[in-house]
C-alpha cells in the first residue's frame, strides 16, 4: 500500500514566470516573502514585482526571513499579511523563505497561539501560495513541510499539512546560475539527501522510487559541474527540477536520520543545512548498503558512481573547517535519537549508533 500526493503545479524552464504571468496571480493582494538578499540577488524579486505591477496587483514585501527561519519571524509575517489584507503569498528564496511562507500562510488567516501550528489542526485554510526557489536543494516548493527554528527547544521543528503545498512553483535556472559555488553544492547535496533518504527509508514505495531514481540520474549527470563550478542556465534549471523531484519523493516518504542528525550541526555550529546532511550522508549510505545492497546499487547506478566515488564526491564538495568535541556529539545523539524520522531508517539505529555515525563523520 502506498499513497501519492503532490498537487503543486510545476512550471519548469528558462523564463517560466515571464511566459506564464497569469499563473502567478492567486488573488487580489499579495505579500512577497523573501530573505534579506536572496530575492534581490537572484533577480526573482524584480521579475515578480514587474509581473505584479503589470497585472495591477498591490503587494507588500516581507523580507525579514533569515537562514533557518524562526517561528517568531513567521508569526510576525502572518500578522503583517493580515494587517495588509493580503489574500495570497509569493515565496522567493531558498528553503528558509519557502518554508517560512507556509507558516505565514497559516498564521495570516488563523487566530492561534504561535506554537499551535505544530499540531497541524488550524481552522481556516491557509492562503494560496506561489513559490520561486532561488536555490536547487530544499524542494520545499513540492512538499507539505515547513521546518522552523524553535529556540525554546534549541532545535528545528517541522509541521506538515496538505493545505500548505504551494499552488504553483516556477523553476528557472536564471535565478540560481549566479549562486556562490559552495551554496550551489550544499543545496544540491541537500536534494541528493532527500532523494537518497526517500529511496532507502522504510516508507519508500513503488510510488516514489522511480521519482527518486530520476532525480539521482539528473544530479549524477551534473556531478562534474558541481565539482568544477561551471553552470549554465540550462544545467541550473535541471538541478532545480531534480530538487523538486526530491521534494516530491520526501512528500511521500519523509526523511530519515541524516536530516534529524544534521539539524544539530546547523543549530549549534551554523553549518548550512545541505552541508550538514552531506557530512553524514556517506556513512548513512554505507550502512544502508549492508541491509539493502540491491537498492543502494540502483541508487548509485543512477548517480553513476560507486559508494566510494560518492563519498569522495561529498568530501570534495564539502570542505568543512568546523571542529567538534565528543561531548557535543554525545549531547546531539541524545536529542536526535528521539526524532520522529528515526523509526523509518532502513537499518536498526540506537543512540550509540548515532554517536558512532557522528564520530566517524565529524571527528
Amino acid at each position: 500500500m502506498f499513497k501519492y500526493l503532490m498537487p503543486t503545479k510545476v512550471i519548469c524552464g528558462e523564463n517560466s514566470l515571464k511566459e506564464n504571468k497569469n499563473e502567478l496571480i492567486l488573488g487580489t493582494r499579495c505579500m512577497i516573502v523573501t530573505g534579506r538578499t536572496s530575492g534581490l540577488k537572484s533577480g526573482a524579486l524584480g521579475d515578480v514585482t514587474e509581473v505584479l505591477k503589470e497585472k495591477g496587483i498591490e503587494y507588500v514585501i516581507y523580507d525579514f526571513i533569515g537562514n533557518n527561519p524562526t517561528i517568531e519571524e513567521c508569526y510576525e509575517g502572518g500578522k503583517r499579511a493580515k494587517e495588509a489584507g493580503c489574500d495570497f503569498l509569493i515565496g522567493i528564496g531558498g528553503g528558509s523563505p519557502l518554508d517560512a511562507t507556509k507558516a505565514i500562510a497559516v498564521y495570516a488567516v488563523n487566530d492561534m497561539d504561535m506554537y499551535e501550528i505544530f499540531e497541524g489542526n488550524f481552522k481556516n485554510k491557509p492562503l494560496p501560495m506561489a513559490a520561486i526557489p532561488t536555490t536547487a536543494g530544499t524542494g520545499s516548493e513540492t512538499t507539505p513541510y515547513s521546518i522552523l527554528t524553535l529556540h525554546k527547544i534549541n532545535n528545528k521543528q517541522s509541521f506538515s499539512h496538505p493545505d500548505v503545498f504551494y499552488k504553483v512553483a516556477f523553476l528557472d535556472g536564471r535565478y540560481t546560475v549566479k549562486l556562490p559555488l559552495q551554496v550551489a553544492r550544499n543545496t544540491a547535496i541537500d536534494a541528493m539527501s532527500h532523494l537518497l533518504e526517500g529511496f532507502t527509508d522504510k516508507k519508500a514505495s513503488r510510488g516514489s522510487d522511480y521519482i527518486a531514481l530520476e532525480g539521482l540520474r539528473i544530479i549524477g549527470k551534473y556531478a562534474d559541474n558541481l565539482k568544477m563550478g561551471n553552470f549554465t542556465v540550462d544545467v541550473c534549471t535541471n538541478l532545480l527540477w531534480a530538487a523538486s523531484l526530491g521534494g516530491i519523493v520526501i512528500s511521500q516518504t519523509g526523511t530519515t536520520i541524516v536530516h534529524s542528525m544534521g539539524y544539530a550541526l546547523t543549530y549549534y555550529k551554523d553549518i548550512p543545512h545541505g552541508m550538514a546532511n552531506g557530512l553524514l550522508l556517506g556513512e548513512y549510505m554505507e550502512r544502508a548498503n549492508k541491509v539493502m545492497p540491491e537498492k543502494v546499487k540502483l541508487a548509485m547506478d543512477a548517480l553513476g558512481m560507486s559508494i566510494e566515488e560518492f563519498k569522495a564526491f561529498l568530501k570534495e564538495c564539502l570542505p568543512c573547517e568546523v571542529s567538534f568535541t565528543e561531548e557535543e556529539l554525545i549531547k546531539w545523539s541524545e536529542v536526535s535519537i528521539k526524532a520522529k524520522n528515526v523509526p523509518v531508517c532502513p537499518f536498526e539505529v540506537t543512540r550509540e549508533d548515532e554517536l558512532e555515525i557522528y564520530k566517524k563523520c565529524l571527528l
Copy 2:
C-alpha cells in the same frame, strides 16, 4: 519549458479503500456513478456502500452509464445529483463511468446548456469526486479529461479542466482481477497507448518521460500475464498503477493520432477503445521510429521488447474479427485528420498518411 500538474491523491494497494475509509468521504451526501454492471461485478460498489453506511453518509446510485457514455447520460446524471442534493460524487468503473462522473460533477452545480461543457468555462467549481477504477487502462482517475460520445457529430468529443481532476483515487487489484481476459488486455493496451503516445508526442518533456518509462516497465513486466491470462491481485494492482501513470503522462502531454484515429473504430464499429488504439499502435510506433529512433528504443527497452515483438504482442492480444471497407477508412481519415491532437504527432501526417495507416492496420 514544461508544466507538470496532477493533484489527485492516489492510494494504491490491496484493500486501499477499506484501510483508508475517511479518504472516501468528500462531503455529506453522495451520488455514486457507475455502469450497469461494473460496480457490482467488481465488488467495488459493495465496498463503497459499506463504507458510506458505516460513516452515516446518505447516497443515491446512478448506474446508467453505458460504454462510451453519451453527453445525455451525463446531463441527466447532473440533474439527478442536483435534485438529490449531493455534494460529492464517487465514480466506479472503467473509463466510461470515470469520465462521465467528471461531466456530472460539472452539470450538478452549473445551470448550463448541455453542449457548453466543451467550452470548459463553467462558472461553479465541480463537485469533488473520488474514483475507483475497475479496469486498468483509462487512467481517467489521474487526468483532467472527459471523453464523451456526441451523436450529433457522430464521434467522441472531450473536455478538459483542472477542476475535474479527482480528489482521490483508490487502486485495488481485487476489483480488476476477475475481469474477462479480453477486457484486461484491451484496457492494458489502452494504458500502453497513453504511455507510448505521451512519450513520443511533441508535448513530451523531461517532466513526463520518466513517468512514461516507469509505466512501460511495469506493463512490460506483466506482458506474459496479459498474453496467458493469469493474474493475481498484486499483478492487477501493479497494472492499475501503470494505468494511472499513463493518465499522469497524458495529463501533461495529451494523446496523439492513435487516439483520434481510434475513435471512429469505436463509434462506427463498436470496437472497444483499447483494442481500437491497439490495432493502430504498432504502425504508429514504426513511423515514430523513423523520426526518433533513440526515443523509441528507450520505450521498447522499458517494455522489454523489440518493435517486432511489440507488434506480435499486440496481434496476439487483440483478435479482431471486424472487417472494414476502403470507403469507411476514407471517410474516417477525413474526420480524424481534423482532430486537435494531430499537430503533436512526432511525424508529419496528412489525410493520405492517415488513410495509409488505416489501410495497413485494418484491411
